[in-house]
Amino acid sequence: MLSTVAQVKTDVLIIGSGAAGARAAIEAAEFTAAVTLAAKGAPRRSGTTNLAGVHYAAALGHADEDTPWEHFHDTIVEARWLADQELARVMCLHGPKSVHDLERYGLHWYRTPDGTHYKQLPAPGHSFNRGVHYNGKTGKMVQDALIDEVKRHPNIHLLGDVFITQILVDDSGVVGAVGIHLERGELLAISTRSVVIATGGAGMVFKVTDMETGSTGDGIAMAFRAGADLIAPEMHQFFPTAFVWPETLRGVAVNSSQLWKLGLRLYNANDERFMERYYPEQKEHMPRDILSQCIFREITEGRGAEHGGVWLDTRWIEEFETLRRDRPRSYIWPEKLGVNVQRIEVAPTYHFTLGGIRINTEAETTIPGLYAAGEVVGATHGANRLAGNALTECLVFGEIAGRNAALRALSTTARPAPEAMVRAECQRLRGVLPETGTGRRPRAIYDDLRHAMYHNVGIVRDGRRLRAAVRRVAELREEVRSVQLTNTQHYNVEWIWALELDGMLELADLFATGAEMRTESRGAHYREDYPLLDNENWLKNILVRREGKRHVYWTEPVTLPYLSEVKMRYAEPSR
């Protein structure tokens, strides 16, 4: 297994070719001739970026009085004051430029009928119409425009099907990385002084998700292993409405920002419009976290429908027929699989990884030479993310990370990836991909982990179940050492699963432990045993770092440099 090692030399290594990674590559390539953009999947076709439905949030101020400051204000308030204000501010200030960048790369945004302005849509939580868009295909158009630009750039070496497994770090910071060339089954020793992690979120750690199936959080786990700080490991956003049936669609989001605006209604199995009970005034007009919790409660308290969901009713919406024809992928295609789009059975699905790698406004992690951008980063959105802010974050911090990574590479002396470190990683990989394991296959353990995390560390949490999750994860970690693998060297899918599982198990432990530490409820984090928001004790972030074999957790108060008067926009659900 992995008996040959090929050497790769590059100024900048970017891991992940989604929105954040591709943007970083384009920027780095403006400064240096040797940029490597590597993805474990097929570039353009892998990652969650393609799935982004509609909104790209940017305060262009074209059609109304919107400003980046208003955008920042909404972001912080909806984040339940837990966001890093410095990161959120940069995201909002640079948002408009990133819209123009994408246009330069070839994305022709929808415009107003006279063609003078970009068309901007409203979305829950945004005080202005802020969502630039390309109908239901925004994410795909963003991904395509970026990869087209990457391909035009002679300085970018695009590598598909390369799974990066480790970042090599010594006292001076990053000195290289190790990956596996999946087709050849060969180890790559990568010499580089600058690495950008842009590997996206970790939705696959949970059983039900709407994310791409490669969203296994590899980059967060890699940064952690390398010794970088992680922030907000307990924060995970669920999207309130996703198909529960048929099985093949379970977890796929029913794209509903538009439906919200037009007045969708939610009913439980007793035909009760239950949101009236929780919020008599706003009813369904509540942010994602609160809706998810209310729906989940209906289901767990026995008022769920046939397949464990609630009913999303579109029959009340006059314009539904127009919307349906406008968005065939969302509302006509599912009919072919037997869904009745007038009454869709839905439940929450894991949607966005709010926690992740800690960076500053220069996209620097706590390790010199290691940068991160996109969903892999934590704290930009605090305890709840607004629609459309994810893509903006990717483009804005992708640009910053790419530039700084290139500048660092140009101002440090290149040297070969230290052989001893490459050998040590080779040794570690032999443990992750054992040749003679006789235990269960990786996919079975992977499925068990996802099940345990969804049920114990999901939308509604309590201390007992969180501790049970930590124990279960430890058992699975033990079990995974003797995992049984098929022995082909060439594009071995079980290797991919085993490598992903290794990182997922690492993260699952951090997610559950972080959730147990936060003894309050805020945004996406809801504790049944601590149902109330607690600003006195918990306007803080949880951080974790690895020191040797130990995991060191600590908290840091949120700083409030720009908006300091903490006021909540919503009352929490009457629990």
Binding site: P43, S46, N50, T213, P246, R329, W333, N340, Y491, V493
Partner: protein
Amino acid sequence: MPNHPVSSPNDEATIRVRVRRFDPQTNGQPPYWQDFQVPRGRVARLLDVLQYLQQEDPTIATRPHFCRDLVCNGCYVNYNGKPRMSCMTPLNARVTDITLEPLQGYRVIRDLVVDFLDKTCGNSAAEDEAGV
């Protein structure tokens, strides 16, 4: 429209799936066909068949990363000789035999996995033909 399952509830029924297997890096071993019986109740669309096969026989290579939602274009295979987006191909009760080959027009990595960065012939219209 009523909420009813598309495929037959009869769990005994199966679909016969022929898969073209090939590892270009293994000298001398020519491509061959392998047959599988896939329980109809487990698969509503072609994408489910790919996942089922991958789990039943982990020696097969299919791409494990996809969106499930008609936007990534990563799930293309040749289905009964024609390029098809597998997540957009429902399997109704009339489907009893399926032939799967790697997507035409790209270099084969192994079995059903192709290198999307390496087009082998001008026929990259393969995907356009599939109507996407």
